[in-house]
C-alpha cells in the first residue's frame, strides 16, 4: 500500500517537473539571458582585458582612435558573431541530425558533412592552390553539400527510402571513404597537410567580419527552416508508419531536414572547422531539460549551443595566455565530464 501511494505521488511530479510549458519558457528565457551575458563577456575578455563600459561604448558609438575600442570592433565583434552563428547552426544541425537518424550518436558532421568539406579543402589546396581561409570556405561548403547529397542518394535506394538506419550507416561509410581520400591526398603533399591541420582543429579564432558577412544569410535561412521542422520531427520520432498515418509526407520531411543540414552544418563546418562535441551534446542536454518535443528541443539547441561555444572560446583564450586553446578542445575537455555527470544523474530521454 505504502509503495503504491509513493508511486502515485512521485510519478506525476517527476514527469511534470520540467516539461510544463511555462516552466520551459522560463528556462529558455534564462538561457537567453545567459547567452547575452556570455556574448558580452566574449567581447571583453581576451589577452587584453577590456572593461565592459568601453566594450559597450565601442558597440554604441565607436571611436576608432581608441585602441581598446579598435580591438573590440575589429577583432572581438566578428569573432563573437561567427561564434554565435556557428553555435546556433551546430546546435540546430545536431538536433536535426539526431531527429532524422533517430540515433543518439549522430553529430552534425555525420551525413558526410565534415568529411566532404575536408576532402574539398584538400582538393582546393592541392589542385587550385587556394591558400587563405576565406578562399576555401566555399570549397568546404560545396564539399559538405556533395557529401550530404551522396549520403541521401545512396540511402534513398530501395523501397523504403532513406530510413534512419540506412542514413546513419551511409553517412558513416561515406565519411570513411572521404576521410581515407583526404588522408591519402594529405600524405602526398605537405602544404595540404598544413592547411588542413589547422582547419581540422575546429576554431573560431581569426575569423574576420568578412566570414560573418558570408555565412549569416545561409544560417538565417537554415535556422528558420529548422525551427519549422520541429513538428515534423515529432512525427518521425513516433516511427515512420505512425508518421505516415498521421498524414505526414515522410520522404519530403527527410529531404527538408537534409536541406537544413546542408545549410547549417555545411556553413558552420566551412567557417569554423569540425566542432563535433557541441552539436553532439547540446541536443541531449536540451532533451534532458524539455523532454521529447522537438519544437522545444530545437529552440533550446539554438540558444544553448552558442552559449557553450562562446563560453568555451573565452575559456580557451584565458586558460594559457598568450597561446589559445582551440574551442573544440575546450568544449570536449570541460563539457565531457559535465555531460557524463548529466547522463548519470538523469534517466536519459531515449530517441
Amino acid at each position: 500500500m505504502v509503495r503504491g501511494e509513493q508511486a502515485t505521488t512521485a510519478q506525476p511530479r517527476t514527469v511534470r517537473w520540467a516539461y510544463a510549458p511555462s516552466r520551459r519558457a522560463a528556462i529558455l528565457a534564462l538561457a537567453l539571458v545567459t547567452l547575452t551575458f556570455v556574448a558580452l563577456l566574449s567581447l571583453a575578455v581576451g589577452s587584453r582585458s577590456i572593461g565592459l563600459s568601453t566594450t559597450v561604448h565601442a558597440l554604441t558609438s565607436y571611436d576608432p582612435a581608441d585602441p581598446e575600442e579598435l580591438i573590440v570592433h575589429d577583432v572581438r565583434v566578428p569573432r563573437t558573431l561567427v561564434g554565435l552563428l556557428v553555435g546556433v547552426a551546430l546546435g540546430l544541425a545536431g538536433g536535426l541530425m539526431q531527429g532524422v537518424t533517430r540515433n543518439p550518436l549522430a553529430d552534425p558532421g555525420l551525413l558526410g558533412v565534415t568529411a566532404g568539406a575536408a576532402t574539398a579543402i584538400a582538393v582546393a589546396v592541392l589542385v587550385a592552390g587556394v591558400g587563405a581561409l576565406t578562399g576555401y570556405i566555399w570549397f568546404a561548403f560545396a564539399g559538405a553539400a556533395i557529401g550530404v547529397v551522396i549520403v541521401y542518394g545512396i540511402a534513398s535506394f530501395g523501397r523504403d527510402g532513406p530510413t534512419p538506419i540506412k542514413l546513419a550507416l551511409a553517412g558513416a561509410a561515406v565519411s570513411a571513404l572521404f576521410t581515407s581520400i583526404t588522408t591519402l591526398l594529405v600524405l602526398r603533399d605537405l602544404d595540404t597537410l598544413n592547411a588542413l591541420r589547422f582547419w581540422l582543429v575546429g576554431s573560431i579564432a581569426e575569423r574576420g567580419g568578412d566570414i560573418a558577412r558570408d555565412i549569416w544569410p545561409f544560417i538565417l535561412v537554415g535556422t528558420v527552416l529548422a525551427l519549422a521542422c520541429g513538428r515534423l520531427l515529432n512525427g518521425l520520432a513516433l516511427g515512420e508508419d505512425v508518421a505516415r498515418s498521421l498524414g505526414q509526407r515522410v520522404v519530403r520531411t527527410r529531404a527538408l531536414v537534409g536541406a537544413c543540414i546542408v545549410l547549417l552544418a555545411g556553413t558552420a563546418t566551412a567557417a569554423a572547422g569540425p566542432n563535433v562535441f557541441v552539436g553532439l551534446v547540446v541536443p541531449h542536454v536540451a532533451r534532458a531539460i524539455t523532454g521529447p518535443d522537438y519544437r522545444w528541443i530545437l529552440a533550446f539547441c539554438a540558444v544553448l549551443a552558442p552559449t557553450m561555444l562562446l563560453a568555451a572560446d573565452i575559456a580557451g583564450r584565458v586558460v594559457a595566455p598568450p597561446r589559445e586553446l582551440g574551442v573544440s578542445v575546450v568544449t570536449v575537455l570541460v563539457g565531457g565530464p559535465l555531460f557524463i555527470a548529466l547522463v548519470r544523474r538523469r534517466k536519459p530521454v531515449e530517441l
Binding site: 540515433n103 543518439p104 550518436l105 549522430a106 555525420l110 545512396i154 540511402a155 535506394f157 530501395g158 523501397r159 523504403d160 530510413t163 538506419i165 540506412k166 546513419a168 550507416l169 551511409a170 558513416a172 561509410a173 561515406v174 570513411a176 571513404l177 572521404f178 576521410t179 581515407s180 581520400i181 588522408t183 591519402l184 600524405l187 582543429v201 563535433v276 562535441f277 553532439l280 551534446v281 541531449h284 586553446l325 573544440s328 578542445v329 570536449v332 575537455l333 565531457g336 565530464p337 555531460f339 557524463i340 547522463v343 548519470r344 536519459p348 531515449e350
Partner: protein
C-alpha cells in the same frame, strides 16, 4: 530461395518444416563464411607473394613452410608472413569487437572506432611515443592497458543499477572524444618527428609489424575469440532488449559485462598491434550482416575484417610502390564503397537495416 524450396515440398510434420527452415537459414551464413575464408586466404597468399622481391604464387605456400631456396624462404618467413599474419589477426579481432559493440549497444554506429573508445589506447600510446620514444613493449602494453582502462571506465561511469545501452553509448562517446582531444593536444605539443610518428600510429599501420606483435595478439585472440563465440548466444538475446532478455532467463547485466570486456580486450589487442586501423571495426559487421542476411555474425565479421585489412594493406603497399601507405589510410577506400553498394542494393522491406 531456400525457404521457397521448403514450402514447395510436401510437408510431413511441423517439426520437420521447422528443421528444414532452420537448416536453410543456416546454409547461407555458412556459404558466405566459406567464400570469405577462401578470399582471405587468396589475398593472404598474394600479399606474401608480391613486393620488391616477388615470389611466384606457386612457391608461396612451400616458402612459408620453409621449403624452397634460402632467399625466398627468408623473405617469406621473416618479412612478409609476420605482416600478413598481423593483418589477418588485427582485422579479425577488430571485426569481432565491432560486431559485439554494435550488438550490445543496439546501434550500428557504436563500434569502438566510431564511438572513439579506441582512443583510450591511443592516449597512452601517443604519450609513450612523445615522451619515452618507441619501445615496443611499452607501446604494446600501454596501448592494451589504455583500451582496457577505457573499457572499465566507460562501464563504471555508465553503471547505475545496470548499464543501459543508451547510457553506455553516450558515456563512451564523451570519454572517447575527451581521449581523442587529449591525443591531439599531445601531438601539437610534441616535436615534429614524434608528431609524424604519432600520426602514422594513429592511422594504423602494419609497416613495423613483426613476429613479436603476432605472439601477444595471437594469444589474446586465442583466449578471447572462443570466449565471445561461447557468449554469442546471449548476445543474440541481448539484442532483443533488456526486458525481453531478462524474461528469457538471461543474466543480462553479467552477460553484457563479459561481452564488453571481451570486446574491449580484442579491440585493445588489435590496436596495440597496428594502431586504431580506421573503420575496420565499424564496417566489418554491417558488411557481414548484409552478406549473410543473419542478425548476428561474429565469425563472418572476423573474416570480413581480416579480408579488409589484408586487402587494404596490399593496396597500400603496391598503389604508390615503393612508397608504402599505412593500411589505415586505405581501409576506408577499400571497404566503404562496398558497404555503400550493399546499402544501395538492399531493396526489400526489413532488410534496410
Amino acid at each position: 530461395m531456400a525457404t521457397a524450396d521448403v514450402t514447395a515440398l510436401p510437408a510431413r510434420s511441423p517439426r520437420e518444416i521447422v528443421a528444414r527452415a532452420h537448416a536453410a537459414s543456416r546454409a547461407r551464413p555458412r556459404r558466405v563464411c566459406l567464400v570469405l575464408a577462401a578470399a582471405t586466404f587468396a589475398v593472404f597468399c598474394v600479399s606474401v607473394s608480391v613486393g620488391d622481391y616477388p615470389i611466384a604464387l606457386t612457391d608461396v605456400i612451400p616458402a612459408m613452410l620453409g621449403f624452397g631456396d634460402q632467399a625466398t624462404v627468408i623473405v617469406a618467413q621473416d618479412l612478409r608472413l609476420p605482416r600478413a599474419v598481423n593483418g589477418l589477426l588485427v582485422g579479425a579481432v577488430l571485426g569481432i569487437s565491432g560486431a559485439i559493440f554494435q550488438a550490445v549497444a543496439r546501434n550500428p554506429l557504436a563500434s569502438p572506432d566510431i564511438l572513439g573508445v579506441l582512443y583510450g589506447s591511443a592516449v597512452v600510446a601517443i604519450l609513450v611515443i612523445t615522451t619515452i620514444g618507441t619501445s615496443f613493449a611499452l607501446l604494446y602494453g600501454g596501448a592494451l592497458a589504455g583500451a582496457l582502462a577505457m573499457g572499465v571506465l566507460v562501464y563504471v561511469l555508465a553503471y547505475r543499477s545496470g548499464v543501459s545501452p543508451y547510457r553506455f553509448v553516450l558515456v563512451g562517446m564523451s570519454l572517447g572524444l575527451m581521449a581523442s582531444s587529449a591525443t591531439f593536444v599531445l601531438i601539437t605539443r610534441a616535436d615534429i618527428y614524434s608528431a609524424a610518428q604519432a600520426t602514422v600510429w594513429l592511422t594504423g599501420s602494419l609497416n613495423s609489424a613483426g613476429w613479436e606483435t603476432v605472439l601477444p595478439t595471437g594469444a589474446l585472440a586465442l583466449v578471447l575469440v572462443p570466449a565471445t563465440l561461447v557468449l554469442s548466444g546471449r548476445l543474440r538475446t541481448l539484442q532483443l532488449g533488456d526486458d525481453l532478455g531478462r524474461g528469457l532467463g538471461v543474466e543480462v547485466e553479467r552477460s553484457r559485462l563479459a561481452l564488453l570486456m571481451a570486446a574491449m580486450g580484442l579491440a585493445g589487442a588489435g590496436t596495440a598491434a597496428a594502431g586504431p586501423v580506421a573503420f575496420v571495426a565499424f564496417m566489418a559487421a554491417p558488411i557481414a550482416r548484409r552478406l549473410t542476411r543473419a542478425p548476428l555474425t561474429l565469425v563472418p565479421s572476423a573474416l570480413t575484417g581480416a579480408l579488409l585489412v589484408l586487402a587494404a594493406d596490399l593496396l597500400g603497399r603496391r598503389l604508390f610502390a615503393p612508397a608504402e601507405i599505412p593500411v589505415g589510410v586505405i581501409t576506408g577506400i577499400a571497404g566503404a564503397p562496398y558497404l555503400l553498394w550493399l546499402l544501395a542494393r538492399t531493396n526489400r522491406v526489413g532488410r534496410g537495416g
